[in-house]
């Protein structure tokens, strides 16, 4: 039978989606445990999430949270850093650390038959790291060297400058790696104090997902992290999310000069809302239309229509406190001013002059909802997703409710949240590029440029 090529075949009904049951238990030391059975492979993922993200860095010690997290696998008890690396590789362990704005997340994936060894090692590392001076000196120097190298990496320079421009001195206003002066100011005693004060079970979350029963995962948690104790003298600390960032006024153009750069790295955006905004679902849809996927206004304009770039996207860098919204792209130097102009126009347009069409709305919602189940294919995917629930205080039913909530978003909602939460009169336009080649045309467009150093 020949295929009918007059039009693509229709898509069937969406398959049913069930997020597996999350079982919760609080250990005697206050550790918030969540377990999920995931039987697709004989693998287990352990996640420990601690209130020690880069937003917890003291003002003069930016980078403290990240270097503390880095020191965790540098030794414990009688094990040196080399021994730890050896022990991890002997269980085929895949260990990683992510330092977010609010929390730091440690992950370990291992074969299910090594779950005990993996959990015991992870607990030793996180709760009893050696924090030796000699390791600290080496780790800090490697971070200082990485900072130096980052000066040549245009996207890293852009991220760093953009956060500083929009957050100012707020604790969210820096990359987790910090800066040169601050890292020099940090000592191993500071790391020990930060670890002692922040790495406490009563403020932390553990998620286990894998090829085990809930009961076995709970026993695993009790056996490994049950002995983790809270500090007898708790340190009082606030959250970065409780501090209101400074108000932005007016539009700004900032250039980090990069002589003879082949491309201009762009960030265009401003502070927006918190992750727990009631407009979250509508904002996801709005962002999908604007620049959250390949078929979106910004990418179609800058890449597919104009050929200015390999790709352009927009997004919210979510956190508990107010999150940045930004256009991210890297464009051919000669196209810089035109690309900035087009990006501004797309942000403005979606707020009302060119409201979302039915077709765009349908595409955005479908792409967010119909593909949703693939986000939960591996034990690692599932464990990290559940850790996000703890981070943002979301209910266990969140994943099950995601699709209906997104599907309920209307075109009016999209226009409303674009008009409410995107504000062309507050946009910061940051360019890392060839100053001599772009300054004049950009100034005509968005006013005089503030020229800033890559180490702002």
């Amino acid at each position: 039978m020949a295929v009918d090529r007059s039009s693509p075949p229709p898509v069937g009904n969406d398959p049913l989606f069930h997020f597996p049951e999350i079982v919760r238990h609080t250990l005697a030391n206050g550790l918030d445990l969540r377990t999920i059975e995931h039987r697709a492979a004989p693998v287990v993922t352990l996640v420990i999430q601690i209130e020690a993200g880069s937003g917890a860095d003291p003002g003069n010690q930016e980078g403290l949270a990240a270097i503390t997290a880095d020191m965790v696998d540098e030794g414990t008890g009688s094990l040196s850093a080399i021994d730890v690396s050896d022990a991890l590789s002997r269980i085929g362990g895949d260990y990683d650390v992510e330092v977010g704005a609010d929390v730091v997340t440690f992950g370990l994936t291992t074969l299910a038959r090594f779950a005990d060894r993996g959990a015991t090692l992870l607990a030793d590392l996180i709760t009893r790291p050696s924090l030796r001076e000699t390791d600290f000196t080496r780790v800090r120097q490697l971070r200082l060297d990485r900072l130096r190298q980052m000066k040549d990496v245009a996207p890293a320079v852009a991220e760093r400058a953009f956060l500083r421009l929009i957050y100012g001195a707020h604790p969210y206003g820096h990359l987790s790696i910090g800066n040169d002066a601050a890292l020099h100011a940090v000592s191993i005693a500071d790391v020990a104090a930060f670890h002692g004060g922040r790495f406490v079970p009563s403020q932390s979350t553990m998620v286990i997902a894998g090829d085990m029963t809930h009961q076995a995962m709970r026993a695993l948690a009790e056996a490994s992290f049950g002995g983790w104790t809270n500090s007898p003298t708790p340190v009082a600390w606030g959250r970065a999310s409780e501090i209101e960032p400074p108000a932005e006024s007016g539009t700004r153009l900032a250039i980090v000069p990069r002589e003879r750069a082949a491309q201009s790295e762009l960030r265009i955006g401003h502070l927006a809302v918190r992750r727990n905004t009631p407009d979250y679902s509508a904002l996801l849809v709005m962002n999908s239309v604007l620049g959250g996927q390949f078929v979106s206004r910004v990418n179609l304009k800058l890449r597919e229509e104009k050929g200015y770039t390999y790709g352009a996207r927009t997004g919210f860098d979510w956190r508990r406190g107010r999150a940045p919204f930004a256009v991210h792209t890297s464009v051919h130097t000669a196209a810089t001013a035109d690309a900035v102009k087009d990006a501004h126009a797309e942000i403005e347009g979606l707020r009302g002059a060119r409201p979302v069409t039915e077709k765009e709305l349908s595409l955005a919602k479908a792409s967010l909802t119909r593909g949703y189940p693939r986000n939960f294919e591996t034990a690692g995917n599932v464990a990290r997703a559940v850790a996000q629930l703890a981070l943002y205080g979301l209910p266990d039913t969140y994943f099950q409710e995601f699709m209906p909530k997104v599907n309920a978003v209307t075109g009016d909602d999209v226009t409303r949240v674009a008009a409410t939460h995107l504000d062309p009169s507050r946009l910061t336009t940051l360019v890392v590029g060839d100053h001599a080649a772009i300054a004049e045309s950009l100034s005509r467009l968005v006013g005089d440029a503030l020229v800033i150093s890559p180490e702002i």
Binding site: M1, A2, V3, R5, S6, S7, P8, P9, V11, G12, D14, P15, L16, F17, A40, A41, P42, V43, A81, I82, V84, S85, D86, L88, S89, R90, I91, G92, D94, T109, L111, R113, R138, Q141, L142, D145, Q149, D152, A154, A261, Q263, Q293, V295, R303, E304, K306, G307, Y308, T309, S330, H332, L363, A366, S367, R370, G371, Y372, F376, T378, A379
Partner: protein, 437 residues
């Protein structure tokens, strides 16, 4: 412990298209993955970068759906992408079970009927997009041009690996729409492709759908596969100035082709040299002596020939000479004495785990569907997974040592120093300036 497996069913359609199906019903998604056995190795000098530019055009629409490849698939909740390397071009979608037919319709339409949708305007725009990709990922990235300098010396000018897949900027600018037609007719047809469906789908239905959507596409002659040889007869020392803060040294050798004798050993050697703090080079250069801030070593397995690469970035104030001497000393040690038992035990644990972790996802780059196609295209057998694992589990101290001794010769390699602009004196002694563009 039982070894991980990757079960499948394979059937070849009358037009030559290989169809492979793997069932995995945990999540209601299906991965569709197509490999075309064409890459930058099939290009000619002066026409480099074409296979990759062509991949871009495959997303611009086809005769019966000229409005672009992405919209209907995104509307159906698909995740999709493609990539080109020296040896092959792959395309994939991960779709909800409800959109399998849509994805097959779209893939088969561009396999059979791409050309009418490729307009001059689209061609020119994608040429610009690719030039931007090149600027972003190579020209504007620290050390981004290093591999171009290395491959252009490792392989002679007429060797298919002499150039990189992204191609030369001048070649990309000179490409014509006419070239697209010939390339499509030669390489994009069922007999030069392999289709895998993996996920929540029953095998008989998957086979029936593959036949329905692809069965009537015109067959074509399997294109001749290129072959080429390259040898190095001395050490080539090169220096490249770049926008970097810290100098870096690269050492590159010829090594076995993918799946050839010694390929797995060199892969294991890369790990024991530079993967993790226990590895020899990391431990010596970064952990103990602190003369380097990072080090990497890996076996680049490719269809015609492999290369083995070691690279290390100098710590501030440290010389590349000291680093190169330290690397040579570690290589000498492993050539003389081979790996230790402890290193082989660690390697065995990591091999088992990583083969298993590879089985966690059905789609995307490196997922099960991509692996089945890789084994089918390069070995003619999608079931090669188990033999592939055996290559690693049967490696011994002696076989790793023998491969290292045979291949890592100091008198047959390319050594590249990348140094900050204006500071060529930081390169290793005797390095010749190399120009890449």
């Amino acid at each position: 412990m039982t070894s991980p497996t990757l079960p499948f069913t394979k059937h070849t359609l009358a037009n030559g298209l290989d169809v492979i199906v793997h069932e995995a019903h945990q999540v209601p998604i299906v991965a569709i993955n197509i490999w075309y056995h064409v890459g930058s190795k099939d290009e000619r000098p002066g026409r480099t970068g074409f296979a990759h530019l062509f991949e871009h055009l495959m997303f611009e629409g086809s005769e019966h759906h000229p409005g672009g490849y992405f919209p209907p698939l995104q509307q159906a909740g698909a995740l999709l992408n493609g990539s080109t390397n020296t040896d092959r071009t792959n395309y994939w979608e991960v779709v909800p079970t409800s959109a399998v037919e849509l994805a097959l319709w779209m893939e088969s339409d561009r396999m059979g009927y791409l050309l009418p949708a490729v307009t001059a305007e689209r061609f020119e725009t994608q040429r610009d997009v690719v030039l931007n990709e090149r600027r972003q990922n190579y020209e504007n990235r620290p050390y981004g041009m290093a591999m171009m300098a290395i491959t252009s010396t490792l392989y002679p000018p007429d060797h298919p690996y002499h150039w990189m897949t992204i191609g030369a900027a001048d070649d990309i600018k000179a490409m014509r729409l006419d070239d697209v037609h010939e390339f499509f007719r030669t390489y994009y047809h069922p007999a030069n492709a392999s289709l895998t469906l993996a996920g929540a789908i029953d095998t008989p239905r998957a086979m029936e759908l593959a036949e329905r959507y692809f069965g009537d596409l015109r067959p074509g002659p399997a294109p001749a596969q290129v072959t080429a040889a390259a040898t190095l007869t001395r050490e080539h020392r090169l220096v490249l100035e770049d926008r970097v803060e810290l100098p870096r040294v690269y050492m590159a050798w010829h090594s076995p082709a993918m799946f050839a004798d010694g390929d797995a050993e060199m892969d294991l050697l890369g790990d024991l040299l530079a993967n993790g703090k226990t590895s020899r080079l990391y431990r010596t250069l970064v952990y103990e002596r602190r003369i380097a801030i990072d080090v990497s070593a890996y076996q680049g397995s490719r269809e015609l020939a492999g290369f083995f690469l070691v690279a290390a970035t100098a710590a501030p104030g440290q010389s590349l000479t000291d680093i190169a001497t330290a690397i040579d000393s570690e290589l000498h040690a492993v050539i003389n004495d081979g790996p230790t038992d402890a290193e082989m035990q660690r390697a065995a644990a990591q091999v088992e785990a990583h083969f298993l972790y590879r089985l966690q996802t059905v789609g995307g780059f490196g997922g099960k569907s991509d692996q089945l196609n890789a084994y089918n295209v390069f070995c003619g057998d999608p079931g090669y997974f188990s033999q592939d694992l055996t290559r690693y589990t049967s490696a011994t101290r002696e076989s790793v040592q023998a491969a290292a001794a045979r291949l890592l010769r100091v008198d047959a390699r390319v050594v590249l120093s990348v140094v900050p602009n204006g500071q060529p004196a930081l390169a290793l002694a005797g390095s010749e300036p190399v120009s890449v563009s």
